[in-house]
């Protein structure tokens, strides 16, 4: 019991510690592919360090929502990290608190407060970005739901650990058409939710074209650091769900030995590295979609996820 609590803390620390590194590696790879040298992969840590040591300016016009949002955005991915399999394939001490839907709602809560805070400041670009994020959000919502329902239908459970075990123990289910379609739909969802290129340009500095970034424009100092770190952790958590639950559910520690749990860290880092390469290829080979084409992109994701659901329902009723 004590051990699983400790492992759970290790899992949270893993997300906390490696999220900036993930962002750094991602941007470095992108620069390399564009034949530039790019900043060091540790640059996000330095950015966070710098922001934490700066003064924070809070407008007197804002309300409590603006104050609490950075903390919420920061804490929510940590909550989700304690629910999902990051290092072990058995539920840890805090995993009883919620299933995958709870994780989705937690992440949605962070996004909701970020949008509220952007409106709260009265900065003209904030509400614009917030409304665009909501647009992407409500288009992504049905896809999230259908993906979760399909996964829980196939695995007969919404607990991520059981789903992960299902794919490992049953290669026929792993290779089923439903699973392939699910993977594609979830990948498109990650691109949309993480503000990656076909939907949003994370490196753009033009306020009118921003979707995800402009929500954080008004934050400074510690607030900005927490928002940034929270965003990076959210993306790492989504990646962990994608890799550990759906795409490559192998290489997790299956017993309580300390060595095995620690060994899972380099394995998941390796998986994330390979995923980063794929992500960079996607981001470098596609152009950002026009705002009203995003509905087409997420519409396609929705269609794919519903096709996955149909395929799984019909194949299981026949079998």
């Amino acid at each position: 019991m004590v051990r699983t609590v400790i492992y759970n803390l290790i899992q949270i620390l893993f997300v906390l510690g490696f999220a900036p590194l993930y962002a750094g590696v991602l941007s470095r790879f992108k620069e390399i592919i564009q034949s530039k040298r790019g900043p060091s992969i540790f640059q996000p840590y330095r950015d966070l360090w710098k922001l934490f040591h700066k003064d924070e300016v809070v407008s007197s016009e804002t309300t409590w929502i603006y104050r609490i949002t950075p903390y919420l955005v920061f804490i929510v991915p940590l909550f989700v990290a304690s629910l999902i399999p990051v290092l072990t394939d058995y539920p840890l001490a805090f995993a009883f608190m919620g299933d995958m839907l709870a994780g989705g709602f937690f992440l949605g809560l962070g996004g909701f407060f970020a949008a509220l805070a952007a409106v709260d400041t009265g900065n003209p670009y904030g509400p614009m970005g917030a409304s665009r994020t909501r647009m992407v959000g409500f288009l992504a919502e049905p896809v999230f739901m259908i993906v979760f329902f399909t996964v829980s239908f196939v695995a007969q459970s919404t607990i991520p650990y059981i789903v992960q075990k299902k794919w490992v123990e049953n290669p026929a289910a792993f290779f089923s058409p439903a699973h392939v379609l699910l993977l594609i739909a979830f990948l498109m969802l990650i691109l949309a939710e993480g503000g990656k290129i076909p939907v949003d340009n994370p490196t753009g500095h033009f306020e009118l074209a921003m979707i995800d970034e402009s929500k954080g424009l008004e934050f400074s100092g510690r607030g900005a650091a927490l928002m940034k770190w929270g965003g990076q952790m959210k993306f790492l958590v989504l990646t962990c769900i994608f890799l550990n639950v759906l795409l490559a559910p192998w290489g997790l520690a299956s017993d309580v030995l300390v060595g095995h749990v620690l060994l899972a860290i380099p394995l998941i880092l390796l998986k994330i590295l390979l995923f980063t390469i794929v992500l960079v290829m996607i981001e470098s080979s596609l152009a950002k979609l026009r705002l009203f084409r995003i509905s087409e992109f997420l519409g396609a994701a929705f269609i794919i996820s519903v096709a996955a659901m149909i395929a799984s329902i019909f194949s299981s009723s026949a079998a």
Partner: protein, 230 residues
Amino acid sequence: MASDQTQLIHGLNAMAAGLVLLTAFGMVATRQVQGVMRFFIVQSAFLAASAFLVGFSRGSIHLVALGAITIGAKVIAIPWVLKRTLPGDLYERREIDQVINIPSSLLLVLLLAIAAEFLVGTLVSSTTDPVVHVNLPIGLAGILIGAYSLIARREAIPQLVGILAMENGAFFAGLSIAPDLPLIAELAIAIDVILIAVVIGVLTRDITRTIGTTEAATMSELKEEPQIWR
């Protein structure tokens, strides 16, 4: 060990089936002529992969040969023939104006896929062969989606790809239920498909040369004047 192997092959076949369905959606979702063509090539490649896998698991040399014919005809010959017969500007970059916009078409296509699963459901339940369970509904969905893009597309080449996609769907369904179709029939079909591509390619080239467009919607006023066909 042997059952593990067949299970793996069936798994890979199912994966190829999922990707065939995905590329069929992709053909409906893309605007670019080039993109539609690429999705068709990828779909044919997965089709051939499925033929190889099913042929291997059933020990049927016919299906393996069929996969090879598919690669030769659809992955190599048809794109090459179309590239040769069609003028480059037609083939390369053109946005297609569609009768029904893309999100609604995708929803319609989804309904077609559901209908295919539903229609085949009772038929499939009479057998326990996993290949039939996977290939038959997705093959039927491929036929319906191909027919849909034949109707909804306005440009000549995506319409041609619609015909070819229907053929792909029929092939995909057929390979699960008729594994020992004589090779000569399959060869005839493959050559037939290439001929269709050549004929439509040449026709399209002549139409663009005399009228300047291949958009079917603008051809409603086409009169039977002899000079139009030179």
